[in-house]
Symmetry: C2
Subunit: 355 residues, 2 copies
């Protein structure tokens, strides 16, 4: 397969390592795995009582080994992606007990000599999810066949991966020809393939995005997991490259009503949904002049039911677009909007799959 | 120094290697060195009579060695930055003759085992200019002291580095407190320091741009070399990250009147100067709401004098901004515009340097 990662193979079941991370949005890798691959997640390892609880049994490394767990998966994504020093003792112990270590942080496990040596001695593997393919071309801007939807956001950790996964699941249920395309560590762990777009060398960003969603059948949809946010002072360039290289026909804006500032960048106000639609359309038009927004997906865990309904109605009134909470409403109304804006294409080779 | 590259040290004088490259815009590294460091460039090595002529004596490797040349500097920048296979023989011969090899291509010389082995055997060095610092933070968006100007462009290879270097030279002559900040291979070779921004991992793009122009005195200007183009389908993400991280107060648009398409991306029309001003202002406002364009710098080698004057008058009429050809007019009118838009700041510690 063209965008299959080399050597990505994770041995199940997993023990999810949360460290002492107390911020739920920083534990999104662990939460994503529990949500989308619950059958593989058998326990969690937390270094503090304040650490995020993923709802899994708290296991020691010894217990995990005894019940047959094969991999310790690092379930947090710290800013900058380094491995905190206080983790090394835990990782070394896990290695000595015979567990593989799986990580998506920027600092590669394999680049840490004492971890590599310990792994070699124990016969276990260090699995670095965040290693992009070795040969990525510069983005060509060439129009590819098939259809694409990109999830974008007013911030990081606001539902882009989740919305994309729900879209794939519901479109599949509807008999549509669709693939989720993972661009980040958790998505890659869930999908078993993808390209860690934020780990690509800058010159090849849009080229990597082009590889991620190759030519496909006319009726095929790639649902591409977005990254960062086009108004994000740290990660906006990644969002730009992913947008231009994905050349999406459609995009969905992910948003949390009531979030005032970019998370972790408190001097920066969250952009409005309209600002994100306008800027995404403007930049995306470079490689797909026909780009348009097909809906808004809200994260509303911190709202009452009344506040949620009000936020949804307000956004639909302002944008004229379906606005859903994927957890509560599903994404059916966004799929309807997609099918209305992009009528299904009859494809002779795909007749049995077409709606 | 904060943004000094590790281990960048080039032994002079140089033999500039052009290969068989016949497109002048692809030989910009060699041309830049000849222009800005003529005293160090003693010869050129071309593999074909059609190859770009830098105006230096054509030397064989043996002759170069005999007249005391110390380094073979690769003077071309191929798309994607790989080393063509037909160069290996030349590079190996140069190494055997005792010359250092200096390159800014993406494929690192040091990652090519047989070159590394040959260099070790001959006691010469392989100097990779395009290796970013090992520890770059994520962009913070924090406001830095001092003033910044970024050169941007309607395309690659359209005068961004040249304009920045002329600005630094003329501002220095005027007694202003100014530094050229190199973001690309040629700029780094000329300045002896900088960060190769297009070689940085995507997540750290704006963080690298922040490192490149650190806090400075209130009256100090960083003149930052731009990269790519904000409407470029291959490299726009690099331009975005450099813009957001540089948080420039001022920018200059570099443009070639008459160039119709993005060079090498023939399906993509060149944006207009106004489009680049509008988009750069919109994106740059994220980290500097006060950003504004202070002039337009033209590359007019392919125009008659009458066409050049017409293009300049047309752009000034359309934008209300000074429009110069730095080769012919210098950049005095842009500096006047900068001083009018950003009046000189009296700084007690810098009184003797202030205008």
């Amino acid at each position: 397969m063209r965008n299959k990662q080399d050597n990505i193979e994770i041995r199940a079941p997993y023990l999810i390592f949360v460290g002492a991370e107390s911020r739920p949005d920083m534990a999104k890798t662990g939460r994503g795995l529990v949500e989308w691959r619950p059958e593989l997640c058998k326990g969690q390892l937390r270094l503090s009582n304040d650490a995020v609880d993923l709802g899994l049994p708290d296991l020691t490394l010894e217990l995990a080994r005894d019940i047959g767990i094969k991999s310790l998966v690092i379930g947090t994504a710290s800013v900058g992606g380094a491995i905190p020093e206080e983790w090394y003792e835990v990782l070394l112990k896990a290695i000595r007990l015979g567990l593989d270590i799986v990580a998506g942080v920027h600092t590669r496990l394999c680049d840490t000599p004492f971890l590599r040596e310990a792994a070699e001695n124990s016969g276990v593997r260090l699995v670095d999810i965040r290693v992009p393919p070795s040969s990525i071309p510069v983005g060509s801007g060439r129009k590819r066949s098939g259809r694409r939807l990109l999830t974008v956001g007013t911030d990081c950790a606001i539902g882009k991966k989740y919305t994309a996964l729900v879209l794939e699941r519901e479109m599949k249920k509807n008999g549509m020809n669709v693939d989720f395309r993972a661009s980040g560590q958790t998505g890659i762990m869930i999908a078993g393939q993808g390209i860690p777009i934020d780990a690509v060398v800058a010159d090849f960003l849009s080229g990597a995005a082009e590889l991620l969603s190759p030519d496909n059948a006319p009726d095929h949809w790639d649902i591409i997991e977005g990254q960062g946010g086009i108004f994000h002072p740290g990660f906006g360039a990644v969002s730009y490259g992913l947008l231009v290289g994905s050349q999406p026909d459609a995009f969905v804006v992910c948003h949390e009503p009531g979030r005032e500032f970019i998370s972790g960048w408190e001097g920066y106000r969250l952009p409005t949904v309209e600002q994100v639609i306008e800027r995404t359309t403007a930049i995306g038009s470079l490689t797909n002049p026909n780009i348009r927004c097909v809906g808004v997906s809200l994260y509303t865990a911190n709202l009452s039911a009344a506040q949620r309904r009000e936020a949804q109605e307000d956004i639909t009134r302002r944008t004229g677009l379906p606005c859903i909470d994927p957890l509560i409403d599903g994404v059916g109304r966004i799929i309807e909007q997609m099918n209305s804006e992009f009528p299904p294409v009859p494809d002779q080779s795909q007749v049995s799959k077409a709606v």
